[in-house]
Amino acid sequence: MTLAERLTRLRYNRVPDHLLGEILAKNWTDNLVPFAFLIVVVATFGTLLPGFFSTASVIDTTRQLGEFLIVVIGLTVVIIGGGIDLSVGSIFALSAFSTLMTIYVGGASPGVALAAALGSGALFGAFNGFLVGYLRLRAFLTTLVTLIIGRSLYDILITTWGTRLQSSPIFNDSFDAIGMNSVAGLPISAWIAVAFTILAHLMMSRSRMGWHFTAVGGARRSAYNVGIDVRRAVFLTYVISGVSSGLAGYLFAARLSGVGPGTGWGLELSALTAAVVGGNSLGGGRGSIPKGLMGALAVLLTTNGLIRMGAGTGTSQMVVGLMLAAAIILDVRWLKNRHKVLSEVYVAPLHHAMQPAVSAQPGSGTSYALNDALASAEPIALGTVEGPEDVILDADDNLYAGTRHGEIVRWFAPDYTRSEVFSHIGGFPLGLAMDRAGQIVTCVGAMGLYGVSKAGEVTELATETRRSLLSVVDDARLRDPNDCDIGPDGRIWFTDSTTRYDAHDWALDSIESRPTGRLLVHDPKTGKTRTVLKKLRYANGVCLSHDGQSLLIAESWACTVHRYWIAGPKEGQLETVIRDMPGYPDNINRASDGTYWMAWLGMRTPSFDLALRHPAMRRRMTRNLPQDEWLFPNINTGGVVKFDDTGRIIATMGDLGGAAHPMVTSIREHKGWLYIGGILNNRIGRIRLPGADPDWTSWESYWGARP
């Protein structure tokens, strides 16, 4: 390797480029824009204002933040539910008024006042909710009108009762304490706001009700069609917003113990600004409580900071307007381009130097030299099957294969012309295996490991494993389960090819050539699944050796077959059996003579091998070229290889014309025949194996002769 190539290797294999894409792919990066905003705001005012971070200042800020935050959170819930509540300022004022009336005219306790405040908030919210939810009026317009109704009601009340309220002889120390005192350094109102925020977040992210709100906001029609009570959900969002404004009004009354005609005036605009600056989409479905929190912080700190700087009339509007515009434009651009950016930066190729392969040229005389044996395979289900990645046969010689339509189809022996849908799974079944009881175990793409009983009933076996500590992508999920096999003790060993790409994006994984494949084991007795091996370059076929002591594992993009010992003195050790093959290995299965069959899904090419040593070139390629002009592994020619336990190649078969079996993903020997599957093929092929044991079946080789 030249120095330049070493440096390239250092650069691309040591710098974790892939993390950027993985982070961007996270849902929480939606919060990056508002979070950046918040940081900028805090940094700006922290620099401009001396004492911005002083304890007294922070405490007073949190006291005001409490009320504002609660209003914003209520509004956020409505917005997520696809509505809008402009009447929050009026509810706020009315609730503050009822609080003060209860205490200073009614002479009641703060608890009763709280009930009065929340009650009036809930009542007003229910009114809004009834109009918008049940009468299905337009939210914007309706709450605009209720805003004015509430405001004029409040003005009438304050005019009528204002004097009584102001001249009240009552002093209520416990009520004053709520507004003035602190617990553990934070004002009581701030604690209430914190508790309220956490509660709201749990409600929105963890409860059925919250999910319903999000569903209704995201797609009202779909929510209705899946049976969610849309009207009730909408109604409830407004009640929640009303209660929030009510609580905020109560805290406001406790803080200032007075209300005036201007109380809560214009609150709807600042609350709306906060919710939007936080990144909540108006129209619903996309938003969260933390976003509301960040927006509330950014807006309150800005207006507060500007007041403290003594800024002139209009400055605050200017800055908030600018902030809103910037936040919205950024958010819109982000939403629009996130996908593009993601697809640009997600692919982060590694330097991977493949060693020269033995030639597979027909007639080259090497053990890998391809012949044309598969071209004459006898077709089964020609043109009626799509994508039989793997095939398997039962004791009655019936043939099973998964299809692209999410089914396992059964063809009946002996001529395999009749077929039926054996079982509907819903995902693309890939690797198949059969356990002692005759149950089919299958790896379903993007779903997990499933069992299908003889009666065709589907059971979920494993859909997740333990999450790695430092992985950014959620590798608890089984993203690309590919092939499985069953040990003598019933444990199911299976591969998960990559944690970075979905099954249909396998080509991107090959271009990236990053080892993220895994070997996992599922124990049906305990129901537990754990990860056994990591860092495989597209972990693919897995096959239990004839002695039951080890597994043969195909690593596709490394063109390597490994042996992993699961029993005996070498248990837990990994050794390489075959390396530097000229083809990309796929499934491996047992052969009747004590050796193994292996499918080649494609052949290595010098051009792609060279590309693998030039990660920068591959990155440019994925960014600048349309997908159909990329360099891919050659999957137009595949083959079948037979090898023994030592890794010696015994035979190689191919289809040189590519008409019948260009790409082979699986092979299964059964009673003297070899059945051939291909994930992109429109048929299952079979060829007679001269000299093979005509009675040998794979099932018996695993589980012994039938009684």
């Binding site: 696809g82 509505g83 809008i84 109009l131 009468l135 299905r136 009026l137 337009r138 939210a139 914007f140 317009l141 309706t142 605009l144 009108v145 209720t146 805003l147 004015i148 109704i149 405001r151 004029s152 009601l153 003005d155 009438i156 005019t159 995201g218 797609a219 009202r220 029609r221 929510a223 209705y224 069609n225 849309v230 214009g266 605009l269 709306l272 600004t273 939007v276 108006l282 129209g283 619903g284 479905g285 800024a311 002139g312 009339t313 209009g314 400055t315 605050s316 509007q317 200017m318 800055v319 908030v320 307007g321 600018l322 809103l324 515009a325 919205i328 434009i329 819109v332 651009r333 629009k336």
Partner: protein, 328 residues
């Protein structure tokens, strides 16, 4: 269309509101002395003229499925700058040209944000309204209120001019309504605006230049905002920027919507603006004659508006199958 359908026209919001306004009108005529006098009728029209001009501008944007929350800001800002430069010695014509240019620029900015940056109109104009007012008020204007300069004789004369006994603001309202009606009815752009508001994707696919059209609609609303502000300033001989903090914007939206121009676009026209303004005008006038305090007027007005909206909701219900996501 069958005969029965023709005899029983579908109750539209416009029809309901017109009926309500007529009922109120009849009620006030019977109960209030002097309500029906020519002078009072002029008062009614006059009290909603500026509102009507603003509503006409809003209607144009709303028909194209937008909304312009920055109208009041633009109105205040353009007129305030116009008067301020006149105090600084500019001629009336030059100051007016400057104000119109600023209005067009601000409208284009709004339109650009909506059409090209892809921001929803609600947010774009909410933000721009706050920014425009905040920027001009804090950086350019010194105080809330600016008077018409004494030497602005042309404008002062306009304030007292009467054509057919009608003052400037009523004429302006009438002119804008006729012009708007003609533009929406007879120009290609006007028809395109309806098509765009009714089905944006279809309009776009058909090859209608939707983006420039959006920009033009916002520019129209901005210029009408300036016109409304100028007529108001001429009549009052001053402009008070504090009006930005009032409920005027909400009133404008309500006139548009209760008149029957749906916020989802593609529907209505200048006739609806007139009907909406008529209801508001009759209400305000009657209640003022009754010496009702402002706060009670607000309550009564908003409850009547709510009734109109509920009635419309009952007569033209939306359901879960047809309502669109993001349609608030």
């Amino acid at each position: 269309m069958t005969t029965t359908q023709r005899l029983r026209p579908r109750a539209t919001q416009e029809g309901i509101v017109l009926l309500m306004a007529l009922l109120l009108f009849a009620g006030f005529t019977v109960t209030l002395d002097g309500f029906l006098s020519a002078a009072n009728l002029l008062n009614i029209v006059r009290s909603v003229s500026v509102l009507g001009v603003l509503a006409a501008g809003m209607a144009i944007v709303v028909i194209g499925r937008g909304i312009d929350l920055s109208m009041i800001s633009i109105m205040v800002v353009t007129v305030a700058i116009q008067l301020q430069v006149m105090h600084g010695g500019w001629s009336t014509g030059a100051a007016m040209a400057l104000a119109v240019a600023i209005a067009l620029g601000l409208g284009a900015m709004n339109g650009y944000m909506v059409a090209y940056a892809g921001v929803s109109a609600l947010f774009a104009t909410l933000a721009s309204g706050a920014f425009i007012f905040g920027f001009v008020r804090s950086q350019i204007l010194r105080q809330d209120s600016i008077t018409l300069p004494d030497d602005a004789t042309t404008l002062l004369a306009l304030g007292s001019a009467r054509v057919l006994g009608l003052p400037l603001d009523v004429l302006a309202f009438a002119f804008v309504v006729v012009l708007g009606w003609a533009a929406l009815r007879w120009t290609r752009q006007g028809r395109f605006l309806y098509l765009m508001g009714d089905n944006f994707q279809a309009a776009r696919t058909t090859g209608i230049p939707v983006r420039p059209l959006i920009v033009v609609s916002f520019m129209a609303s901005a210029v009408l905002a300036w016109a409304a502000g100028l007529t108001s300033a001429i009549s009052l001989q001053s402009v008070n920027t504090r009006i930005v903090n009032s409920t005027l914007l909400y009133d404008v939206i309500l006139v548009v919507v209760i008149g029957g121009i749906g916020l989802s676009g593609g529907k209505g026209g200048m006739r609806n603006v007139v009907v909406g303004a008529f209801l508001i005008g009759v209400l305000l006038n009657g209640m003022t004659i009754l010496n009702l305090p402002n706060i009670h007027q607000n309550l009564i007005r908003s409850v009547i508006l709510l009734a109109a909206i509920i009635l419309d909701g009952q007569l033209n219900p939306r359901d879960e199958q047809t309502s669109q996501q993001g349609d608030i």
